[in-house]
Symmetry: C2
Amino acid sequence: MTQQKQMILSLAMFGAAGLNFKSWTDPEVKLSSYPDINIDIEAAKLAEKGKFHFMFFGDFPGNKASDTSDMQTMGLDPMMIASIISNHTERIGMGITRATSWSNPYDVARQFKTLDALSKGRMAWNAVTGANGVSANAYGVNLAPSFDRYGKAYEFTEAVQALWATWGEDALKLNHSTKEFADYDQVKAISLKGKYVQSSGTLPIPPSKQGQPLIFHSGGSENSIAFAGKYADVFVGEVWTIEQGQAIRQALRDAAVANGRQPDDIKFIAGVMPLLGDNKKEAIERHAQFIDDDTFLQRVAHIGYVLGIDFTPADLEKPIDPKLLDQVVVTPYSDPRLENVLKVAREGWSLRELVYHSVIDYHPAAVGTAQDIADYMTEWFEAGAADGFWVMPDVYKVDLTRFVDEVVPILQEEGSFHKDYEGETLRENLGVAYQYGTRERE
Amino acid sequence: MTQQKQMILSLAMFGAAGLNFKSWTDPEVKLSSYPDINIDIEAAKLAEKGKFHFMFFGDFPGNKASDTSDMQTMGLDPMMIASIISNHTERIGMGITRATSWSNPYDVARQFKTLDALSKGRMAWNAVTGANGVSANAYGVNLAPSFDRYGKAYEFTEAVQALWATWGEDALKLNHSTKEFADYDQVKAISLKGKYVQSSGTLPIPPSKQGQPLIFHSGGSENSIAFAGKYADVFVGEVWTIEQGQAIRQALRDAAVANGRQPDDIKFIAGVMPLLGDNKKEAIERHAQFIDDDTFLQRVAHIGYVLGIDFTPADLEKPIDPKLLDQVVVTPYSDPRLENVLKVAREGWSLRELVYHSVIDYHPAAVGTAQDIADYMTEWFEAGAADGFWVMPDVYKVDLTRFVDEVVPILQEEGSFHKDYEGETLRENLGVAYQYGTRERE
Ligand SMILES: Cc1cc2nc3c(=O)[nH]c(=O)nc-3n(C[C@H](O)[C@H](O)[C@H](O)COP(=O)(O)O)c2cc1C
Ligand SMILES: Cc1cc2nc3c(=O)[nH]c(=O)nc-3n(C[C@H](O)[C@H](O)[C@H](O)COP(=O)(O)O)c2cc1C
């Protein structure tokens, strides 16, 4: 019996009570102070109970919320939160974003390897270039053009991986009888003077249980795919349709091969918002409570804009005329969410319900019962549109709990998701080969 | 009854099983892997049991150990360790070093405020300039001259404190009935373009229970004292005699006044290595096991050098001739440890035992029974040579345990150390006034 290929699950974390700016208003949350680290700890424990492979932390320093009813997200430094979470969990991994455009490679190398060692091999660095001007300005820099941002990202990643390997793999001795702690001759300095990045010296931390942290990447441009081809073990992406997922996943597999790697060496992770209810209507109505009036109207307008239809208030409570939908032309320049808008609209929902399906959002929603959501994920997975998902439940306490209790067992029963962690480290659990130092060094 | 002024105690942390490179060799330690976060957690819990005000973390990134029997220290990032410790403790504070010469102010502001919020007001940033070339090179920079290092330190600290206050004190609402999370109009961007430091935007984290982290400083030069006069709540120093302590403490008090502050606004913390035993001889012999042969011979040579005496192996087991000691002249250019060497030598110890007293080390030792050590500390404290101490026990598990169980109760009984924490935050426990933002802003 050959082992069926299985999907990867990860939980998105962005510093709120769930993946919604309004999650804090859910009566179940009972937020009485902010920040409250217990929310993150509980979410992590739930995800670990559900055998999620890792938690995924974005990072947009300096970006304040604006709508008064929105919870502030990502103000706190995710490395501090992950440190505490690592101490409350045993198997689940952590992928944390740090942008190369405004960080220092020594800091990134040191903080990630520290946590990789302390968590016993459960860390990944999501190496993004970052295209956020607010973050850049907070760090006192201006955003460079893509060419230079990626030029720096290559040097930066090389530097980080080279620093990781300055402590020789066999340098640690811990020999009590000879009183030999380490053979420090095996801790060797590097000296890097690149166009964008300088660092010399050592990072004196022994290998973790998995050697060193994995490299994740997020982006989408050609430069981004090429960078991922060289470095990324996991690519966390943003797609709305199976076709889009297939295209970027294939591009990543090709990029891996172009870099002398195997296609499966890069795992493509698509986003999904599970809207879970006893039926589809209930599921979207639960989600509706987190959409405020302004956002609702903006999304109605945006749906009209991408479809090329002028809606009036009278249109809200009825389905969009199928004839109008048939006239819509999808081009490569269309909003990437357009095809998904069309697909859901054709199911006959009213315009209001269409908005409640969250068709205009950062990620597509899977809507319905636990079986519906499992089916959605399996369809994507089997179509080769994703190797796994980053899951964005509205409220951890409510929607993640249901996802873990109801969706995960279905996926496990069907054989498309593992029943337990394969090993102790993130590499073992994702099936990523051991690596220590830069790839060339291997 | 007026409350007697009481001393401050802090525990030094440098990433080993105690404040000795050989602490890991103590049979009680049983180090079976490295790193092992449990060592730090246990030390912190012990210190909290002893009502220590704070733990003090130095930071010398990039410096690898060299002697094969020395434990690697300070390789790991202290912010990660402190994050985990904060989650295992309730009252003890944490002062962590981050040098302005190679860090980014937004990172410092964000990481410290994150941890201040998560620890509910127990953090301090030890704002040093840093004079370590190895650390600077790791971060890809060269060390600037003192003028520029301190020039940058001023701008850096202003930027950090300004960022801390970008989230208005009353911006957080968390009002469940009106669904108002925060009034984001009260989260106001700064825009700093200094000679050395740039940052603009917001750091969207609400005030912690103590507003914002305290500022500590370590150094010694005139520039350092002047900087402390403006910013420091606590100055962590390096002195070997009561006179040295009195001089620097007075200089700091004067510097505070020169900046429109009260003399007591800066607390001067001196280092002390407690060598604790049932008598002095036992105490130094316990310490002797952590001095390897090379170090022993170097220290003999250094004692000879500072005293201007050429020792031979035959001199090791006998006291130094008092007539020779009387001929030694102390000048302002002498090694700062010379007077302490003379003082201990005059007690009649053999040259070997003099070395075992650790007279040539980073900090002076207090040697003997619990009462001897309490007396040493009280003498310094009452002479105005220190407002408190950073305590450096050889092995946390052994020597810190004894310090907490034996020395602390004596100090408490005598009224020179508090019996319990005064409050919940580091400010409350140190008696440092609330501050939010830069001092000018107040
Ligand atoms: C799924 C996803 C997650 C991302 N997360 C972050 C992030 O946390 N922080 C950040 O600064 N940028 C993030 N980015 C932005 C990317 O770093 C990148 O700058 C952006 O996609 C623009 O692409 P390009 O740089 O390839 O042109 C993310 C992008 C995607 C697609
Ligand atoms: C007690 C003490 C602790 C210090 N801790 C650190 C440290 O952890 N990291 C660091 O880079 N420098 C540290 N320093 C060095 C100071 O930052 C400073 O650069 C040094 O004392 C030279 O003084 P100056 O810069 O005033 O000339 C410390 C100094 C003292 C006295």
